[in-house]
Structure formats: C-alpha cells, structure tokens
C-alpha cells in the first residue's frame, strides 16, 4: 500500500466536564476503506467532527498529503478534499434532489443560478453512482436509501480525496447496502480514502481493509481487517470478552400453535399503503416482519397501531373485534409501539428519563390521576436497573443519553404499561453492539413472560434468531409466513426475491 494520505496525531478534544478525545491517532491511505469502530460514546463522531472542521481540536495535528491542515468549517474541510455523509442524512428535505447535491456550489453566470446546468451536473453526479433519478423530485418524497445516495453524490461532487461515511447503511436494506458497497469499492479503486463508521460487523468484514478501534475517547489500536477475528474486535470495542449470543434460543419451542390467540387480522389493509393481509399473533410469541425496506413492514406496524388506521378488513384482539382508529385505542387494547424514528417519534427530548418513562402509563391513566411520585421513582429505578439504562439519574433529560439507552428507556415506557403485544420497529438501529445484544435478550425474556412481540428489523440475522414466526412482505403485500425451523436467512431471501 501507498504511504498515508491523511494522518491525525495526538488529537485531543475537551468539552466542559468531559474529555471526548484523548491522544487519538488515525491514519488513512489512499485507496482503502477504513472502518472506524467503537461503542456509542467512544469518540467516533467527535473525531469525525474534528476532521471535518465542525470542531477545532484542543491538541494534536492533522496532515493531508503531507501538509498540515486545520479546517475551521465544513466548507474549508471540503475545499481540502474531505467530504462527509452523516448518519442522519443531513440534507434539506423540502428542496429537490438536484439542489441538495449542488447547494452552495450551484453553477452560475453573473451570480444567477443556471438551473439547466444544475440539473445536468446533478444527473452526472448520480450517474457516477449508477443512479438515474428524477432530480426535480422533492427529497422528502424519496426513500431513505435514495436520500443516502444523494448525500454521497453530494459529498463526492467536490473533488474529494477523503470520504467519510457515518453509519451509511443503518437505514438501508441488503440490496441497497450491496449497491452502496459496489460504489464504495469503485471509489476505493479510484484512489479515494473512505472512512466507514458502522455498527454492522458483517459489513466491516465485507468491505473494509483496515480498522481503527476507539473506546472511551482513547485509541485502542489500528488493525488489518483480515488479521482481526470478529470476537477479538468485539472484545476490543467493549473492553471485555463478549457474551456468546445464544443462537439456539428461537428453536427451543415450536409448540406455539396451542397458545392463546392474541391478535388476529384478516384482510386488513389500507389504500395506498398496505394490501389487505392476514396476520395472527399468539400469546408469548415473537413474530417477525421480514422484507426489504419499503416493503410495507413499517406501514403494517403503523396500521395495526392505528396511526394510519386500516380501511378494510377486521381486527380481533383477545377474541373481540376492535377498530383501532388511533394510537390511544390501540394502547387501550393492549398494544404498544416503538417507532423506528427514535428522535422524531420516540423521545420527548427535553423531558427527564422519568417523565419519558411514565408517559404512556400516565396517558392511559388520563390527565388527572397522576401516578404518585414515589411510584414513578420506583418504576424508574426498576427499569433503569432491569434494562441496564445508563443514566446519571432519573431526572436527566433523555436527550443527554446515548442512542441505545434512549431506546431502552423507550422500551421501558411501553413495558411499564404491561402491554399484551409490543410492536418493535427497528429497535436496534443505530445503537452499539452491547445495547443491541441486551435488547435482543430482552425481547426473548418478554416472550417467556407471555407477552407477544411483533419484531421488525433490517438485519436478517437478528430476525432469524429472535423470531418464532416470520411474515414476509414484498411490495406492500404479504408473500408468505415461516415457522420454527423454516426460519432461515435463505428462506426469507427466497420469499423476498421470488416472483410467484
């Protein structure tokens, strides 16, 4: 390999009260994919923000192709050849695709934007990624995957030498991920240095050449991917030997058929959203919803929970026919729903962990009968301990917690209600390995307590070893159902892929 393209040496960054980065190094070579690994709070984002000029380092030095750089803004970083695509796609949803790619550097003549040229350039930038899109479409109306691609197209459009991809695959399905990897390889071969931040171990091994691991703001080490076994990597990230995940859990009992039927949907659908489908969920059962992103998984969940209520078919819960016109009715019928959009539809950011935790329970009690303070605190203490929520205390605003801990607090919000069925939409997205394992374990323990779970995840592996039964969706239509030992990644893929 060639000599380093970019070197960061002894980077230090301090926030009031916290040392976010302490003596961290990062070396990138031209033509490599470099995975940056670490649990949430390890300092990955801070390091990237230093690299891209969002923050200024309090110590250390960064050099690009031999010259010391000290970007004071993202614009300066971009000018130096360092471009970034952030985890939550940082584009402007209300503008068109073309604008999002070229915002800030539109082609102009006499200060006037040349829209025709703008469109052409945008099309060209997308073509480089093998995409052909209507560049006049409003970004909001596109899927997350497209938005991600647009963000990459934007990042590449400047003459980038270093491309930073922060969790680019967390909202992509397998096919889209594969497409992204193809592009990444192509770019690597063109000589770009790509920093790849992700929580997906599989993807790290699939695409990266080298790995830098951070923990608690400090450098753990730099490794060749091929020489670092998976378990060791996890061990380095966690700073301990990881638990071996119990893969056999789901195979244990196949006899769910005899259990009491909890929810039975027949012909439930909604125009323009999900075709009518049948679905049965029994007590103590984890049912997965499989399928690609955009196949109707989330839409089905939202429909069952009454957010966008169904307009056809009938729904029986506990043997009684119910019409769930809104979330309140769904909750009253014993349903709970954890949205995939933790920030937008989950947490109440400025309220404390305690208030977030009791919210659903309190809502069900109505506005007058406040849950006594002592009970609130007891409840919080219980769940903070049971779910291992890492927070200074229950009065801390929930937005101060890391993503994984926010997710656990949201789960606690629903568990406090003791629902009969909990719908989890991508509960492990964008959270670190440790928290992920804990949430998977929690799901299994819920089943043992007789609670039913509807589980949605983009990670097939997770679906396979968590669910008792999997309903597979394709193009907003249910295309099959797998039970017990039928549930394998292979079978799900077949159902998703095949036209019958």
């Amino acid at each position: 390999m060639s000599e380093p393209l970019l070197q960061m040496r002894g980077i230090r960054k301090v926030f009031p009260g916290v040392v976010a980065l302490d003596d961290v190094d990062l070396t990138l070579r031209a033509g490599e994919v470099h995975a940056l690994m670490g649990e949430n709070g390890a300092g990955k984002s801070t390091l990237i923000k230093v690299l891209t000029g969002v923050y200024r380092a309090d110590g250390g030095e960064t050099s690009l192709a031999g010259a010391v750089i000290n970007p004071g803004s993202t614009l300066e970083a971009e000018a130096a050849g360092i471009s970034t695509v952030y985890q939550e796609v940082n584009l402007v949803g209300s503008l068109s695709i073309a604008e999002n790619i070229l915002l800030g550097r539109q082609p102009r003549r006499f200060g006037v934007i040349r829209w025709g040229e703008t469109r052409r350039l945008a099309k060209r930038a997308l073509a480089r990624l093998g995409l052909e899109l209507d560049v006049d479409a409003q970004l909001d109306s596109c899927s997350m995957a497209i938005q991600q691609m647009v963000a990459i197209a934007r990042a590449l459009d400047v003459k980038a030498r270093v491309l930073i991809l922060d969790e680019p695959t967390s909202s992509l399905d397998d096919q889209e991920t594969a497409a992204l990897f193809k592009i990444m390889r192509q770019l690597r071969d063109e000589g770009l240095a790509i920093v790849f931040v992700t929580h997906f171990l599989d993807q790290v091994y699939e695409i990266s050449d080298r790995i830098t691991v951070l923990r608690n703001g400090a450098l753990v080490g730099e490794y060749e991917t091929a020489e670092l076994p998976r378990l060791e990597l996890i061990g380095k990230m966690l700073g301990r030997k990881p638990e071996i995940v119990d893969h056999a859990a789901a195979d244990g009992d196949d006899g769910g058929e005899s259990a009491e039927e909890l929810l039975a949907a027949s012909g439930v659908g909604r125009k323009g959203s999900v075709r009518p489908l049948d679905l049965t969920i029994r007590k103590g059962e984890v049912v997965g919803l499989g399928g690609l992103l955009g196949s109707g998984r989330t839409e089905t969940a939202r429909m069952l929970f009454g957010i966008e209520p169904p307009d056809s078919g009938s729904l029986r819960i506990g043997g009684e026919t119910r019409r769930l016109g809104n979330p309140r009715k769904a909750i009253a019928s014993g349903l709970a729903f954890c949205s995939e959009d933790r920030k937008g539809e989950g947490i109440i950011p400025h309220l404390s962990v305690r208030e977030n935790l009791i919210l659903a329970l309190q809502a069900s009690r109505g506005p007058i009968r406040l849950l006594p303070r002592a009970e609130q605190e007891e409840l919080c203490a219980h769940y903070i301990k049971a779910l291992n929520i890492k927070t200074p205390d229950a009065e801390t605003p929930i937005s101060n917690l890391s993503g994984g801990n926010q997710q656990k607090a949201l789960l606690a919000r629903w568990l406090a209600l003791q629902p009969k069925l909990i719908i989890l939409d991508e509960p492990t997205r964008g959270i670190d390995v440790g928290a992920k394992a804990e949430i998977e374990k929690l799901v299994r323990s819920l089943r043992e307590k007789g609670m039913a779970v509807l589980f949605i995840s983009s990670e097939l592996e997770e679906v396979v070893h968590t669910c008792d039964r999997v309903a597979v969706l394709r193009d907003r239509r249910k295309v099959g159902e797998l039970t017990g030992s039928e549930i394998t990644e292979q079978r799900i893929m077949q159902l998703v892929a095949h036209h019958e």
């Binding site: 309090d58 909750i331 729903f337 947490i347 109440i348 400025h350 919210l359 809502a363 007058i368 406040l370």
Partner: protein
C-alpha cells in the same frame, strides 16, 4: 451540606428564573436610587397604599394573561387573541350588570365561559384544522373586538355595581383583591399542572407532539384545553380591567397586551418552541414589564419615546439569557471561567 444550596441554584438557573429576577431587581434598584418615594408604603383606608401596590394591581392583568399564554406557548403555539377576549369578557359582564338583574355569581361564570369557549374555537383551528397558531388566533384578534363592540353597541358602558367593582378595586387583607385572584389562579394552575399529569401532558405535547401522540397522549385535547385555558385567563383579566375602570371599553381595552404577555412568558424562561414551562417565571416577567411601565410614567419619560427604554429592556433581558453573551462579557473582563 452543600446539597440544598446546589438544589436551590439549579431551581433558579435551570428553571430560567434567575435572569428575569435579576432584571426585575436591577430595575427596582434603579427606582430605589432615582425615583423618590417609589418604595413608600403606607396604610390608607385600611389597606396598603403605594407605588409597589400599584404595580402589583396594574400588573395583575398581564400576569393572568401570561399564565394562560405560558401553557399555550409550552405547546408550541401562541395566542394573539387575548386582548380581544378581554374586551369580550368585559363587554358581556358590563352588559349583564347594567341590563339584567342577574347576580354576580352568575354573570362572572357566563363571561368566563364565553371567553373559554372562544378559546376552544382558537384551539380547534390550531389542533383540528391545523392552522398555524399566529394566524389562527389573529382571526379572533380581529373579529373578537368586533364581537365585543357589538355587545356594547360601540359605546363605553359604565356601571356602578358594588360587587363587580370590588373585583378590580376592592381590597382583601389589606391588599388589592386582584392579587388574591392572581394568587388563586397561579396557585390553582400550579397545583393543576404539578399535582395532576396535566403539566406533563402539556410539556410532552409541546416538546414532541408526534411521540406524545404515539404514546397515547390526547394531543388534540391538550391543545384545545390550553387555548381554552388561555381564553379563561383572558376573560378573568378582562373582568378585572372592566371592573377597575368601572366601564367596559370594548374598543380599546387590552390592545397590544398580547405582546406584553408573550414577552413576560419568554422572559420567564419558557421557550417559544414549546416544551418546558415556568409559571412563576411568567409572573416575574409580567411584573418586570409593569415595573418598567410604571417607572417610565413616574420618571416623566416623554410618552412618544417611551417605547425605546422598553426595547432596551427586552433586548437586554434576552441577551442576559444567552449563554454566549454571558461568556463574552465575562471574557471582556478577563474573568473567563476555566472550561477545561
């Protein structure tokens, strides 16, 4: 041993109460130094008499409006119609007092119900029809005054009803009765917000409406209720205003008071974006404005330029609340706190 102190400090700074209180204190210090007799209190006719009492009495209207406005702003909205609702309450009460034999125990509830109902109308426009609050409440701001004038026939309706006059002019335990009303309203609202789950509902719905709805919160009802509550508070303020001058001046009463109320709320530490609110802070904010107004009257500031000091106070209080500004100021004095 340090703990209660730290707790107190957190209560002040965290709740945003510190800066409005400081602003109020600075203004009062100015008055103490430069305005003769500002702090003079004496007992006349069995009740306290002095400029400070006037401030509390005159400020009662803004305080009540701010109380309702706090909750509206906490849900991320704003209510511009409060001034017009004041006029309506005053007009209804004056009309009933002069033209009917109804007892006050009936008249007051009728007037308050009317403004609360109009508040519900505001709330419905915001929560059901989905119209942006500034515009939704602008409608009643314009039309409401028309309704009030319709009731009084465009005249200033005067009355001499002893019971009704007591509301705005009477004294209770040596203090203006309006203070009792404000104290009851503040106490009642605080209790309602903190001893029931209403406060949590308002803050949650204002901070993240979607998440609250998905958690089973009746967010539409929450919004509807806060506008109704704001209408109720405006009605109360309108009754005080009418009673205070023994007349319903439906074309003029409450003009521009919506801005005072909003200012009071924001100064008091409630963000216009919604979420956490601070009732006591709003009360302090309202007192700050009233103290400023009274100071300018007593100091003989020419009425035409009176808006200028008001502008300065608004911007100054805003700047004090800005952390960046505070850091810069301490930087100027070379006393920058060590952040490392």
């Amino acid at each position: 041993m340090n703990d209660p102190l730290a707790k107190l400090k957190r209560w002040f700074t965290g709740g945003g109460l510190l800066w409005p209180l400081l602003g109020l204190a600075a203004l009062l210090a100015y008055d103490f130094a430069f305005v003769d007799g500002f702090f003079r209190l004496e007992v006349r006719d069995g009740h306290l008499y002095g400029t400070l009492i006037d401030i509390l009495n005159q400020g009662s209207k803004t305080m009540l409006l701010a109380l309702g406005m706090t909750l509206v702003i906490a849900t991320g909205g704003v209510d511009l119609s409060v001034g017009s609702l004041m006029a309506i309450a005053g007009a209804i009460a004056a009309a009933l007092v002069t033209q009917s034999e109804m007892s006050l125990a009936l008249i007051v509830p009728i007037a308050l119900c009317a403004t609360a109902a109009l508040g519900v109308f505001n709330g419905a426009l915001v929560s059901v029809a989905g119209i942006q609050p500034i515009v939704a409440t602008l409608i009643l701001m314009v039309a409401g005054r028309g309704i009030a004038m319709l009731i009084t026939g465009g005249q200033i309706v005067t009355f001499e009803h002893a019971g009704f006059v007591y509301i705005g002019n009477g004294h209770f335990m040596g203090l203006p009765f309006t203070l009792t009303i404000v104290a009851l309203a503040l106490g009642g609202t605080s209790l309602l917000m903190r001893k029931t789950a209403c406060g949590l509902f308002v803050e949650a719905a204002g901070d993240n409406e979607t998440a609250s709805r998905f958690s089973g919160l009746p967010t539409r009802w929450v919004k509807l209720s806060v506008y109704a509550f704001s209408g109720l508070c405006a009605g109360l303020a309108g009754l005080i205003a009418a009673s205070n001058i023994k007349a319903a001046d439906s074309s003029r009463v409450g003009e521009m008071m919506e801005l005072d109320a909003i200012f009071a709320v924001v100064v008091g530490g409630t963000a216009l974006t919604g979420g956490r609110f601070n009732l006591l802070g709003s009360i302090v904010g309202a007192l700050l404005i009233q103290t400023l107004t009274t100071t300018m009257i007593t100091q003989g500031v020419p009425p035409a330029v009176a808006p200028v000091p008001k502008a300065i106070v608004i911007v100054a209080v805003c700047l004090l609340q800005s952390e960046r500004f505070r850091n810069e100021v301490s930087g100027w004095f070379g006393k920058r706190r060590a952040t490392a």
